[in-house]
């Protein structure tokens, strides 16, 4: 008879810990989101209360959208993230294919060269990256960010995509080759569609650090016209630190797109991490 009792106790302990920690994870976000929709008085008088008829206000959002070029920041982040992703996935898949399909001299060396980039953060090369961008006249352009993020994302993308490409059955490729199909056609029309799930996984988790980065936008593209959302919010809050409505609204605006994307892709992302980690 002891078993079920201890089982029950164990199960409630499990849920107590998990639910408690989940609450701790979500509470700060919840707090910011509800207070973003309140008047200044509402924010200070009852921070924990939901907005009601009396305290509801969108003044913060109006201020933010009026003062800062939020839509512009947003567009910049989107451009940088999408372009980097496309380059990482396309070039990454091509390199992964070459490295896992063919045997050639220097192959191990190239693999090692890329592997190095997984462990060593690209930030350490910032001094020289800035000098290079000055020489190329790319400072304060989104291209500078795209190039750096592509370089940053490639090593891991190549590693993961190689794992998947290696699992593709040999017969498929050999059959195509017997029919006289060229290597480029094989890659673009047979391999790429086959590794779509892997590409989606890599996409979701290369996207996050690019979208969130502060360091490179701060150093390579701090100009008003090229600010990304992360840098824009950071600068905006630095400037309007005492305007709580505006601060809370800008934080919410920065959080919302990520929340929306997460609602759609959380499963993919978690599956990707789980699958990637086992290897």
């Amino acid at each position: 008879m002891r078993q079920p009792v201890s089982h029950l106790a164990g199960s409630s302990f499990t849920h107590l810990v998990l639910a408690g920690y989940t609450l701790l994870s979500l509470f700060p976000l919840f707090l910011v989101l509800i207070n973003a929709f309140k008047s200044r008085a509402g924010i200070f008088d009852a921070p924990l209360a939901l907005p009601n008829g009396e305290t509801f206000s969108t003044i913060g959002f109006e201020k933010v959208l009026g003062k800062a070029h939020f839509l512009g920041f947003f567009g910049n982040s989107l451009t940088v993230t999408v372009l980097s992703l496309v380059l990482i996935l396309l070039f990454g898949a091509m390199a992964a294919w070459a490295l896992s399909e063919y045997r050639f001299r220097g192959q191990r060396l190239i693999l090692l060269f890329f592997a190095f980039g997984i462990m060593v953060p690209i930030r350490l090369g910032t001094v020289a990256i800035l000098e290079l961008m000055v020489k190329l006249e790319l400072v304060n352009t989104l291209s500078a960010l795209v190039l750096v993020y592509t370089a940053q994302g490639l090593p891991l993308a190549i590693l993961i995509l190689s794992e998947f490409i290696q699992q593709i059955p040999k017969e498929l490729k050999e059959a195509a080759r017997c029919d006289g199909v060229g290597e480029f056609t094989i890659f673009f029309q047979i391999i790429l569609p086959l590794i779509r799930p892997a590409i989606a996984t890599v996409a979701v988790f290369t996207m996050v650090p690019v979208w969130n980065d502060l360091w490179f936008p701060l150093i390579l593209a701090p100009g008003e016209a090229t600010q990304t959302i992360t840098l824009g919010v950071q600068q905006f809050i630095g400037q309007y630190a005492t305007d709580w409505n505006a601060v809370l609204a800008s934080l919410s605006l920065a959080v919302l797109p990520v929340l929306v994307i997460y609602v759609f892709f959380s499963r993919q992302l978690i599956r990707g991490i789980t699958a990637g980690a086992v290897k």
């Binding site: 998990l18 050639f104 020289a128």
Partner: protein
Amino acid sequence: MNRIARWQIAIFLAPALLIYASFSAWPLLDTLGLGFFNTDEAGQQHFAGLANYYKLLLDPQWSDGFWNAMGNNVEFFFIHMLVQNPIGLLLAALLSLKGVRFAKSYQTLLFLPTLLSVVIIGFIWQLILSPLWGVAESLLAQVGLAEHFQPWLGEEGSALLTLALISVWQFIGIPMMLIYAALIAIPEEVIEAARVEGASAWRIFWQIRLPLILPTLGLVTILTYVGNFNAFDLIYSVKGALAGPNYSTDILGTYFYRTFFGYQSQIGSPTMGAAVATLMFLVILAGVGVYFFAVQRRLQRHAF
């Protein structure tokens, strides 16, 4: 296998190699080289041997700041190791128990903060801990601890610890997910065999599951290490480049930024910045080296 022309392989490899080499690998090497130069008033660079490193490590004008940042960074890392990874392990262990309801939902929600920008997280916690708003204080009051409230982020003694805990709060999802993945990959028969032998869940965890996931714990450790010794965004957004109060939250990332770009009366120097980056590189390389040559090799023997 058919003969594939060399140029075809080259075309597949070239774009990735070119971008990675020019914007990641070469700048890193270039930075390592630049650390051996100094910059004169006219902005010209001259070879200076180890002068920059001598300054950084031994000349009090520079080395005080450097060693302070290094010490803080080590502390920052240890707090992650002592708080983040054990909690991550606990959450993963609970999530991987058989038949826990809502396990997927918990996972999804617990992972959410990890996806948000460090800048956003930093500001959110700054608001919550602000004495002006008083949310933290009123929450403490509800459990009768109001008098323990302090403006933790503003005090020299507690600012670094508070920032480290904010970072722990945000990144708990990474160790949790990695460890969870390792735990569910353990073959069911192994656990079942132990259970049939009459081992308790507690014992199964400590004596079977934990030893089997040691390689993953090693991976989590090195990821935490690299992430921490490369951190910058959180400190910069909450405390600014000066990493106050009185440099008590200064870590290598913020020290690097100030050295490179300058602050107040100090003029920034790319060559000194490169020297700091080189030292950071060595610190990270040492960690990765230890991981690969000692930990990974020994742990692999336990793996299945």
